[in-house]
Subunit: 149 residues, 2 copies
DNA sequence: CTCATTTAGTTCGATATGAAATTATTATCG
DNA sequence: CGATAATAATTTCATATCGAACTAAATGAG
């Protein structure tokens, strides 16, 4: 091989872009009409990390502009999947809380995805996925700090 | 570890999503205002693979709906970076050809990115990136064929 | 305390994205 | 051949995304 480094990095981001596209499509096929990956991701994050996060924390976690997060949260709130409440310690801020419907929605989506994931796991053992994670996590962290510095 | 397989796959797609987001931001910071990753990606693909591709081929290559590709190509054409011509063998179809300005635009963008990429490569040797590619390529192919079957 | 600055979130406007219907052309089958 | 089905691209329309300007609240320097 002995490839041009630029080309190698480009290929990396290219493959990642396509896999990302495919994973959005896979997920959204299991969501009710109108619900997108952005909505699901926020619900999932609130369950994994814990709810009560602020909109700004969420926008940083997903690396999207805060205006985008405002919009996503408005959609979730209108659907009754989260509740926005004033932040107890900071009058400028808010906290995002899951509703029961929000938890149920996320659980249903995860359940619906299980068959798809099993299909993938039949082709690519989960061990291999787990083995690929450290690189991606490191890459994410490096890129994240490069963004500031 | 011995993680829940679903959780492992979710983490994978999550990390990929964030890296993708970060790579878009990185790239778009080097593009003239109004130009997005979608535009650059098409130009780059036309150079890497060869121009004369049809819009449908491009939409499949990037796994985006063909209406999205129509729109992206319209933007590129308006900017004078590609030329759309009738397909010589199929009256329904078109071919997308790079203009000189399109090639120059892509080359400039790549050159502008070199410093960024070098910054990343200082933290993560290109060898490691190359080592990560087979997994991602395999994943992309598996997901791509799972989409049909 | 007061004013300037910073920070959290929203609003606004412009553009991107994508599903569904539409048009034009080609392929296929009786 | 002629009718029907399939295919390539566009148009339409609704929504998502996100930069920039804005509002409100907190911080902090004097």
């Amino acid at each position: 091989m002995a490839e041009d480094p630029i080309a190698t990095w480009f290929t990396l981001f290219n493959e990642i872009g396509i896999v990302n596209q495919l994973s959005s499509t896979l997920l959204e096929a299991q969501l009710p009409k109108g619900m997108l990956r952005s909505h699901f991701s926020v619900l999932n994050h609130l369950i994994r990390v814990s709810d009560g996060r602020t909109p700004l924390e969420l926008s940083r976690a997903f690396q999207v502009p805060k205006a985008s997060m405002t919009h996503t949260l408005a959609g979730l709130e209108k659907a009754g999947l989260v509740a926005l409440r004033p932040h107890p310690k900071d009058g400028r801020s808010k906290q995002v809380w899951l509703t029961e419907a929000g938890r149920a929605f996320r659980d249903d989506a995860v359940a619906a995805l299980e068959a798809d994931i099993e299909g993938l796991a039949a082709e690519i053992p989960t061990d291999e996925v787990a083995a690929a994670l450290p690189f991606l996590t490191r890459l994410r962290k490096v890129m994240d700090s490069a963004r500031d510095g």
